[in-house]
Symmetry: C2
Subunit: 347 residues, 2 copies
């Protein structure tokens, strides 16, 4: 069993370090951890945000534990050299097409969100976001029109097999939960969305037990504010999923606790906290490593089939929280290392 550890930029290294300590403490027989460079850190070291050797490490591993990428000092580099290309490249190269982002308010943390307590308590949803297509990976460019004007352009598209694959992920996830699936698109304006909707309807025939509904993305953004408790599983494209999953995460209030999985066909996956690289607090022992530790738990469960070990980590995190060990993001004062210690002790 080989786990690639890509810490990346900003707070990535310090939160990943704590998750690695947790994994090592489990003392899993035959577990190997291999580090690789990604993001701005990789650019400064190797001249590329996703160097070939990093990709090789990923390909020879069973799963990836990812920190975060993003470094403002790279803002003026050409697009293909910017830190974000590391995560986009890994998603594409490794076929990580299904991003699972659960959002649920942790018991006892109902007062961290800006939503009223009685609304926050109802949130228990999963966003299934497509990660390999859409306007993210279409042709794109900057051109000068005949009349001399500059124009930026990006091609948005989905082909039926791309939609079918993620639709299955959505329906399957719904089967393990409340059996309600909301497909989000903008079919009143976009042909990409029309194809999306047509294919989701086709796939729905295979899941008669799941109640399927369709919602326009603008309405979904409203409903996540008005009544987030109405959602069970949301399936949507890459761009809308980027926006809605971040909105939903913030509804939960405790973004420092939210983990995510990006899965390929089979068991391979990349696991990362949903918070970003937070350069403002990087290197100050202020970041909350719990989301990364919980990402490691997801990794053990989904990619390595180690359910018991995953549950042990989750229980240790819950215990630490219950004991009042909270990072600044949760209104506490525990530092990065202190939180790592607390979880390790409670394993």
């Amino acid at each position: 069993m080989r786990i690639a550890v890509f810490a990346g930029d900003g707070i990535g290294p310090e939160v990943t370090e704590q998750a690695v300590r947790v994994l090592e403490k489990l003392d899993l027989p035959g577990l190997e951890l291999v580090e690789g460079d990604v993001g701005g850190a990789a650019y400064y070291k190797h001249g590329h945000p996703l160097p070939q050797q990093t990709l090789d490490i990923a390909r020879s591993s069973d799963a990836i534990l990812f920190g975060s990428v993003g470094d403002f000092s790279c803002d003026n580099l050409e697009r293909h050299l910017r830190p974000e290309q590391a995560i986009l490249g890994l998603r594409k190269e490794l076929g990580l097409f299904a991003n699972l982002r659960p959002a649920r308010v942790f018991p006892g943390l109902e007062d961290l969100t800006t939503l009223r307590r009685e609304v926050a308590q109802t949130i228990d949803l999963l966003i299934v976001r497509e990660l390999n297509g859409d306007v993210y990976f279409g042709e794109k460019g900057m051109r000068t029109l005949e009349d001399g004007r500059r124009q930026g352009w990006d091609l948005m598209s989905y082909a039926e097999d791309e939609v079918r694959r993620i639709a299955h992920s959505g329906f399957k996830a719904a089967m393990t939960r409340g059996r309600k699936l909301t497909s989000v698109d903008k079919a009143n304006v976009l042909e990409t969305s029309q194809l999306w909707r047509d294919v989701v309807i086709e796939v729905s025939a295979e899941y008669p037990e799941v109640e399927l509904s369709h919602m326009y993305v603008d309405n979904a953004a409203m409903q996540l504010v008005k009544n987030p408790g109405q959602f069970d599983v949301i399936v949507t494209g890459n761009l809308f999923g980027d926006i809605l999953s971040d909105q939903a995460s913030m509804c939960v209030g405790s973004i420092g606790l939210l983990a995510s999985a990006s899965l390929a066909e089979g068991s391979f996956g990349l696991y990362e906290p949903i918070h970003g690289s937070a350069p403002d607090i990087a290197g100050k022992d202020l970041a909350n490593p719990m989301a990364t530790i919980l990402s490691a738990a997801m990794l053990l469960r989904h990619s390595l089939g180690l359910e018991a070990e995953a549950a042990r980590i989750e229980a240790a995190v819950a215990k630490a929280l219950a004991d009042g060990i909270k990072g600044g993001d949760l209104g506490g004062s525990a530092g990065t290392r202190e939180i790592g210690d607390a979880v390790v002790e409670r394993l």
Copy 2:
């Protein structure tokens, strides 16, 4: 002075009727109101959601008071015949490129939103959304790839003049308010956004008093949940503006009170409530006409230069609310007509 009144579908006719009563009650000398068909209603009557005669009425008017379009019974029509094409067509044909969507919590209505009262109170923002470009109006289609797969596609793009024009709208709006402008894009992924950002920065040189910042759309969706009070004016493209303005509206809680303006160069504009056609409550005297009445006030102010009359309408609405005349959407029980009566009486 000629106002085109396009009532449209669902609750459109009943809410527009009350706004027209309010306008008539003002007894403005030389004011002419001309009705026209749009949306599903126009499709069923004339075979097209935006018939030529409707466009002619619009072109010979000084402003448009718009109800809403949307009719599920048209869902299976070809795209160019669907109700939404009426509003998209009017925006494009009439050069309505700047959509202004203010979001502010009305005093006394702080408890209608799902946000905590202390957060809701801080909301006072304006979204300036571009309406004539982006993936809305690019080439699009459904095609069969060489290998036989169906694909839906839409071209996203912005040219520099399109961005420059809306950037000026954003900066000018900021100058009349808190002098803070947040430009929202996805420049880490999209070339369209990169051009957007470059041009907004160029234009900013003309507005040294405005503090400009840039935010990725996913982060903006988060920040609208976390701390909506941080925003003054947000300027963004057509697609992101669609999503974020709806999210912001719902943060206010009282969507039945929110008006919007879609402006062309000069004084011409289209004014509409931001709520949709709400087919479930159509024809039942349940819809709140206040947003449409307030849209009529915006119309008088921006397109006809009648500031005093606009203020009179707004004061009458505020008075009715203070007197407890509230629609079901605000937790009250006043019907559509009753609310119209109440506002007319208080003029």
